[in-house]
């Protein structure tokens, strides 16, 4: 018991130290300081990891008092299996991110920036851990805001680049919007119970309001459609090691919040599961469909995060539906799927972001159309990216497949539900989910194929060099875990005490490698082992990088299939010689892909607030007379009110 908590304290202490040290600039050898700070980050991740593993295995609940101040702030942390699980997820990703940063952090442009990177990385990781371990809502918001703030600074980190400011603003406003919804939910609970503690509540007024505001608040932060719009802006803008953490675990913090409050705090209602399932399905489908259209590698990955968050929500929604229908075994399967997918997504998404970061820093380009052939110059990065791509596409025997398999199993068990309408809804969501996973595979064929295969499409891709050891090592950690968690999934589950009749991926893996080995070995020594190098068949024309298939070409059929979802807008401009518009001079026609949510949801809201704001700002017109008039009217109104009530 003592050892447990001391690990937790140690983690906090190391992170804080790592946060403060680079800021102080104690000596001239700043690089040593940064290295030290990253090492502290690694150490603290390790200690958090050990701590959460112990808690998880002992299945206990622990209250850890850290600091409290005269009843204003009470930093008491609460760790049970759920939070321990999330702490472990966060720690693994921060660990690999920190290792990666040894190399990546030194590529940044200014000395000061490098310092901030090392410092903020610690704060960022720590605040995530502490949000997850929060015991009261004040604490939750405290670290939640620290998290938002540190990630906001990271989004603005390279503020000189075009688009970064927009990304930063988008991100800031959306995260604060989510905080506002959370506050509404938290205070709704507080108004009922009078306590900030995150504890089970039995009866609540305004339960629907509270649940909806919490759901929306967490959805915004998790990037659930239609609140996802900040994600594809913010993730590409942030440095890659941070994108890995943002996408890999920051979104999961929101998932944790949703799970914590719906599972243990609020009394559940039947329709919540349906809402969450539908929201999850919609964001899974739309996330991947948008990803297909995207050619900025980091933005593509960001859209996939939306998809995967959707998948996690699908699992969680199924859990709620099944447990409302008393199908406990299925419910547990669905929840396990959701949680396992949380872990898996954290791993493969951080792996993908880290390797994408390596590619970006090796080529200096973001657009996958400008890559190509990198597998020859950057073989390690390519292999790691491939592992991530296979995992995220949900192919056996990797981890992504296992969680998707569990979800499919959970879906297919829906024949036990009594309500026919609910049953058919579940089937519809199932088909949506299937579509999602197939499209994800298509998208990663594109991402990997266009980036790493064939001939380089630009000078920078041709001249790319393999990145340094640290950056590879950082990506190796999640890659190994992707394989291990996939192949040994059943063994790990039974180690954790969860018995299930899922297929044993170890056996499947062995069978496959056996077949691979047999075919390979049998044919290795036969006569026809001659290999000749030739040219690609191009119907006689010389092939170059210009004739290769492009990413837009690749996704074009799917874009055509789903053209109703990607709405287009035509813009016609015509200029005339005369005012009556009879003599046509010149014109231009464009077809834009509509940013549906941005144009139909975000912009109208923003516009109306803007309109109001302009109207209100116009009240301030620099004229004393007007100002006194306002005061005069206010006096009259107040007197009238008083006269009315007296």
């Amino acid at each position: 018991m003592i050892m447990f908590t001391s690990l937790f304290y140690l983690g906090i202490f190391l992170s804080l130290l790592g946060f403060v040290l680079p800021l102080l600039r104690l000596e001239n050898n700043r690089k040593a300081h940064r290295t030290f700070s990253y090492s502290l980050s690694i150490l603290s991740s390790v200690s958090f990891l050990a701590f959460s593993a112990l808690v998880f295995l002992k299945k206990g609940e622990y209250l850890i008092p850290v600091y409290s101040n005269a009843g204003l702030i009470d930093f008491t942390f609460y760790v049970d299996q759920l939070s321990a699980f999330f702490i472990a997820v966060i720690s693994v990703v921060s660990l690999s991110s920190a290792v990666y940063s040894f190399g990546y952090g030194e590529h940044l442009s200014h000395e000061r920036r490098k310092d901030y990177m090392a410092s903020l990385l610690n704060l960022f990781a720590l605040s995530m851990v502490l949000v997850v371990a929060s015991y009261n809502t004040l604490e939750f918001i405290f670290f939640w805001e620290l998290l938002s703030m540190s990630s906001f600074l990271f989004v603005l980190f390279e503020y000189g680049k075009p688009g970064t400011r927009k990304a930063g603003l988008y991100y800031f406003i959306m995260t604060q919007l989510s905080t506002m919804f959370l506050l509404l939910g938290f205070f709704g609970i507080y108004a009922n119970t009078g306590s900030f503690n995150i504890q089970p509540v039995t009866s609540l007024q305004n339960l629907t309001l509270i649940f909806l505001s919490l759901f929306i608040g967490f959805s915004i932060k998790a990037g659930v459609v239609p609140f996802h719009k900040w994600l594809p802006y913010a993730h590409p803008a942030a440095p890659s090691n941070i994108s890995a953490m943002m996408s890999g675990v920051m979104l999961k913090v929101a998932i944790y919040g949703l799970m914590r409050f719906t599972l243990t705090v609020l009394p559940q209602e039947r329709w919540w599961g349906v809402l969450i399932l539908v929201a999850g399905t919609v964001s899974a489908i739309l996330g991947v469909i948008y990803a297909l259209k995207e050619h900025d590698i980091k933005r593509l990955l960001a859209y996939h995060s939306i998809e995967n968050i959707g998948i996690i929500l699908i699992g969680f929604g199924l859990y709620l539906i099944y447990s409302a229908n008393d199908l406990n075994e299925l419910a547990i399967l669905a929840l396990a799927a959701a949680l396992f997918h949380t872990l898996n997504h954290a791993l493969f998404k951080s792996l993908l972001f880290l390797t994408a970061g390596s590619v970006v820093s090796a080529t200096g380009k973001h657009n996958i159309e400008e890559y190509g052939g990198l597998i020859k110059t950057m073989p390690y990065t390519a292999a790691l990216f491939l592992i991530g791509a296979v995992s995220i596409s949900g192919l056996p025997p990797f981890n992504g497949f296992v969680s998707e398999l569990m979800l499919f199993q959970a879906f297919l068990g829906s024949y036990l539900i009594q309500d026919p309408l609910l049953k058919s809804l579940v089937v519809l969501c199932l088909s949506g989910f299937a579509l999602t996973s197939a499209l994800a595979a298509a998208c990663f064929v594109k991402a990997f194929g266009i980036t790493f295969l064939a001939v380089p499409r630009s000078e920078s891709a041709r001249d790319a060099k393999e990145v340094g050891k640290c950056m590879i090592a950082g990506a190796v950690i999640p890659a190994v875990l992707c394989i291990v968690l996939g192949v040994f999934s059943l063994q790990i589950f039974s180690l954790m005490g969860y018995r299930t009749d899922l297929p044993d991926m170890l056996v499947i893996g062995i069978i496959m490698s056996l077949f691979y080995a047999i075919t390979y070995l049998v044919l290795k020594n036969t006569a026809a082992n001659k290999v000749r190098a030739g040219e690609t068949w191009g119907c006689g024309t010389p092939l170059s990088s210009r004739t290769e298939y492009t990413a837009s070409g690749f996704s074009q059929p799917i874009v055509r299939f789903f053209k109703d979802i990607y709405q287009t807008r035509e813009v016609n401009e015509r200029r005339f010689y005369d005012k009556q518009n009879t003599l046509f001079k010149e014109g231009a026609g464009e077809i834009h892909l509509m940013k549906f949510f941005e144009e139909k949801l975000y912009d109208p809201v923003a516009r109306s607030i803007n309109y109001l704001s302009i109207k209100v700002s116009a009240l301030e017109n620099w004229s004393l007379d007007t100002y006194v008039l306002y005061a005069f009217l206010a006096v009259l109104a107040t007197v009238a009110y008083v006269g009315w009530i007296a």
């Binding site: 620099w622 007379d625 006194v628 005061a631 005069f632 009238a640 008083v642 006269g643 007296a646």
Partner: protein, 229 residues
Amino acid sequence: MIDAIPIPGIIQAILVLIMITGALIVTRKDLLSLLSMYRLQSLLLMFLALVLYAESGNYVLLQMAVLTLASKVLLIPYIIRRMQKEINISKDISFHYISPAYSLFITVALIFFSYYSLSKTLNELTDNKLFYLGAVFGISLALMGMMVTFSRKKIVTKTIGYLMMENGALIFSIFITELPFLIEVLIIIDLVILVLLAAILAVGMDSSIEEFQAKLERIKHPARNGGTH
């Protein structure tokens, strides 16, 4: 000794006269006559204090009458007169938001408004009809003063508007004799400082050429309104 004099009638008459001066201040354009109206109003206020003193025999009222005479009839108008000379303009022609004719209608509306809004409160507070009248007229006068402040262009007029508000408030306090004299004195000091400050500032502002330039600049850069020290 002065039973023969119908004191309530006199008070009513003075109150009505004060309101008339107020109405004139609202509508007049000539700065000089505005000032005289204000002076007249203050004088009437002094008389009001004297009449009330005659009725109740409270020395504070007498002191107040003297104080009003010294400050509001003599000192403050003097300062404003100096200021007017300095600025060298004699008319405040343009009206903002309200034209003179409408402002009179609004004045009537304000009186009714104050009456109806405050009737319940005042009924609770006193049975004295005169106090009632004084309260309603006082508040109306204050509101009228505020109207002057926002509907007239020149700082001089605005200052007079403010002083009229102050007079309205004073009508109130005259009926309540026991308000500590110290406070009355402080109020007057406050008022004098304010007028002085307004005078000094107005010299900087109202000098017509300067205002023209400021306007010009505002037309040139409508968006800009911050900046220099």
